[in-house]
Symmetry: C3
Subunit: 141 residues, 3 copies
């Protein structure tokens, strides 16, 4: 065990609303940690961004998700927050800023079609995604 | 400690949208693990399903939740994903695929009215729900 | 280590829908635990409340979030649940009853603008927020 199981990944968004696939980065972090079994916790230290897990096979899915969210969280309501980004704050809490994924046999355990997405709702910006792995020790039957 | 604290529960849905009460299964898994104190992590390895905790006393609540979600995530938008199940993907990320429940004294700690629900949004299908328990050791005062 | 890393915070709401900043209480719990490194898990043992992390600088943000949620989860649908609080149940599952925050150097690691909010959707009531810290041990490089 040579690596600390805590790190911060840098994510750069290029549009106002964007879902950025960070699966490879998180997966590399887990592999490099040397931890074979545990929970990989993700945390977004921002209030107009989020993290989620969804399909990474067809890019139309994330485009549809962003379009659907725009339809759900209406931009035209009488929001009071002067920055004008209240819908982005609401989307952040609907999707959530924390999540956790199992680590088995030294790697992330994701479903066949799953990828990890950093969700930008008020970009473009430079953002952070914090990662921390809690190691578990299993009894073998 | 005779059991491994990682397992996969099988869940079968019988309708397109359905909330299936898995409290008894998760609870039995925790009891059988022999772990007295920790965190029980749940993870759904699918992109059109989710896991949540809500009322399990009146079955009308989950019926209302599914109806309410159908109203929130509109089926008729100009989605591009060819499979036609974009609303199910959006519901999955709104509800979320990961969750955690405390384990105290060898059992799940749920509120009086709470149950754990596997949420099917694109069924009927056979699904999996992954469970992993992180053991904690408390200092006693 | 003199304190047990599990506790229950009491939260009193004074309105039907309210976001109550509990950052100071959770932060004090973490400091008092004496745990320097780990994950702080939050759990709401109720079915019409939730917990989230969002901006705590401008109070207009939480007012806008409650107004936006009211617009998203329509009160006037043909809900069947006799208590009449189905929208509150839906909001609870959309925002979520569990969350986790990193603990580094003996304190919570929150972004510059982030605070922890207990979300009341069916108040006023007396509520609980459960907190449990899982200690992690890092290897130092």
């Amino acid at each position: 065990m040579r690596y600390n199981a805590y790190g911060i990944l840098q994510v750069a968004s290029s549009r106002e609303a964007q879902m950025i696939d960070v699966t490879a980065d998180v997966s590399a972090f887990v592999r490099n940690s040397g931890i074979s079994d545990g929970i990989c916790h993700l945390f977004v230290p921002h209030t107009t961004a989020a993290v989620t897990i969804n399909e990474n096979a067809d890019p139309d899915v994330v485009a549809d998700m962003l379009m659907g969210l725009e339809n759900i969280v209406r931009p035209g309501l009488p929001y009071r927050h002067a920055e004008g980004n209240s819908p982005a704050h609401i989307k952040s809490s609907l999707i959530g800023v924390s999540g956790s994924i199992f680590v088995n046999d030294g790697g992330l355990v994701l479903g066949t079609w799953q990828g990890i997405y950093f969700c930008e709702f008020d970009g473009p910006r430079r953002r952070s995604l914090s990662v921390k792995i809690v190691r578990t020790e299993h009894e073998r039957a």
